[in-house]
Symmetry: C2
Subunit: 336 residues, 2 copies
DNA sequence: TTGTAGGCGTTATCAG
DNA sequence: CTGATAACGCCTACAA
């Protein structure tokens, strides 16, 4: 089956290629009967417009890039669903890029993004630098960062859809202060350091405002295959804090298992909060307390924001940082 | 920053665009000093070749499409990692498509794949029909299906990288027959019916060969929000089979929780096997027995196969169905 | 309402 | 070794 082009359709329908182009693009100047004739030819030949050629002619690809860390892939599923659904609505194609330490450095990804001439890009706030964002900016590629908050650098062509994790941690900490508890640990997740930094900052702020110092940031190196392995070791010499906060489900579950096996009970000896919700937190006994974060919506909002930026919608000019709300969802691993 | 083109570079380096094109494409006919001059101009101007224009000129986009069900996204993470890593090695870009009932029907996805003029496509064996694959075939788009086995239709331009789930279930069943156990249930997972069919077929074959009939295919409709909700209800009137097989972790864990709460113990009252491994199966107590399926490798192999098909490698002409091996990994929910 | 011709940014083929 | 020039497939003034 020969690649069939607009010329073939034109010949078949006995019109010029311009006319074919018009019916493809829903121009309303073409007469009804010729439109029909063209559409028939299109169907008969199975013609599909070449998006590449269209892209060249229009300097517009109607595709946007999404880039995220390979490791966070499974965790970002819902955000991605939101992104994809909205992209679909606006008829955008998605170029998908993953970054990982070894094979695909962020720099290469940026390179291919620029070459692809995508109209815009969605960046997950994991592992890119200020510098890399500036490159995107230099090439005038509208960008929105989704996940955690980005610093307010002068770059105003980048949007941001985020959860204020700093505030979340601040509030969480104060809630325990009110109950007279200040023995709080935060377990590091190396997969998303920017979020960790913000959680840590929020706790530090709360402690500082209360004339105390936050010291229990639990970090462990990668010689431990998992947080479970680490915590099992850890609990041989430490007892858990009254409150343990983790970012992701696997760390929370690891904490529960390791703690339980070390003879501690949740929530009596230690309360446990996992910041990011997942269905697995309902599968443990007791169920793990968490926050409801509107993940799907974050994706949807981010993509919608990007599409607006792409059409130069005035309404987003100075209004492209969107703070998404969250709410605390106590379950069985906390006493509140 | 004006979009800078090959002409700008040519002028800057005082050569023709043809020469610039040559140095971009590593042609070895260009003299050393002019190459240097051109490269300098490229760097100075920040020029990046326009992949769209290249695509038009070459009738080759060096991008491949990946399409998977939106719902299975988190579960396919490892396969995707394998796909992405190999794609990166071969410098292929990835167009990412998701299908879901409401918003994006497979038909639309196919449409956009064809328009995009991608070089090839990777299909997850979830929710597409024979017919849709034939469309891809009509447009001569090399395709490889990853996941479970596809039926041997006449279409030889489609590769397949798969786990033989039929055989897996057959062996599993026979292993229990040898122990004198034939009270075996298989819990349906609606998200991947093609895999379910194959598991079911394998069990049926084993039963039939032993003069018995397999009857305990447990299916439940979507009025139940989760398999946990269903099983909790189910165990009020049924006792679990001696052996329960599920496809995915969440079903296995649901079975454990619902069973335990109904007064049954695993593995004494019921042994439990989850076909697809995940880290969460190690987080339960007891740990869930499972199969090791080389997910990352499946992705890597699939993408490698596709790249070979794209360069018309003879070695894959009649050798594009690749059966991946798996192995049983008993843990604490089984007695073997 | 329709057709003609130039342009989008590259690559490839020929001359020189 | 380098430079014109014709594709690649489509869109869009501009003319008719």
């Amino acid at each position: 089956m020969k690649r069939i082009t607009i010329y073939d359709v034109a010949k078949e329908a006995d019109v010029s290629l311009a006319t074919v182009s018009r019916v493809i693009n829903d121009s309303n100047v073409v007469r009804e009967d010729t439109r029909l004739r063209v559409q028939e030819a299109i169907k008969k030949l199975g013609y599909k417009p070449n998006a590449i050629a269209q892209g060249l002619a229009l300097s517009k690809t109607t595709t946007v890039s999404i880039v995220m860390s390979e490791k966070l892939f499974a965790y970002n599923a819902k955000i991605l669903n939101g992104l994809m659904d909205v992209a679909k609505i606006y008829n955008y194609n998605i170029m998908f890029h993953t970054t990982s330490k070894g094979i695909s450095r962020m720099q290469d990804v940026i390179e291919s993004i620029i070459k692809s001439r995508v109209d815009g890009v969605i960046l997950f706030n994991d592992n890119f630098s200020q510098e890399e964002m500036e490159v995107l900016n230099d090439y005038q590629i509208p960008t929105v960062v989704v996940g955690s908050r980005i610093e307010d650098n002068g770059i105003e062509t980048v949007g941001n859809v985020y959860i204020n994790f700093e505030q979340l941690a601040y509030e969480l900490t104060n809630r325990y202060f009110e109950r007279g508890i200040d023995d709080i640990s935060l377990v590091e997740d190396k997969l998303n350091m920017s979020t960790m930094q913000q959680l840590k900052a929020g706790m530090e702020r709360a402690f500082k405002e209360n004339g105390k110092e936050f010291t229990k940031y639990i970090s462990y190196d990668e010689t431990y295959k998992s947080s479970y392995a680490f915590l099992t070791e850890y609990f041989k010499t430490h007892k858990p804090s009254k409150v343990v906060v983790t970012l992701r489900d696997s760390q929370a579950i690891a904490m529960m298992n390791a703690g339980t096996e070390a003879g501690y009970t949740v929530p009596d000896d230690a309360e446990l909060i996992c910041v990011l919700n997942s269905k697995y937190l309902m599968m443990t006994r007791p169920n793990v307390s968490t926050y409801n974060v509107p993940e799907y919506d974050m994706g949807a909002v981010a993509m919608r924001l990007l599409t607006k930026m792409l059409v130069n919608d005035e309404s987003v000019k100075n209004n492209n940082k969107i703070n998404m709300s969250y709410n605390y969802m106590p379950r069985q691993t906390t006493k509140d």
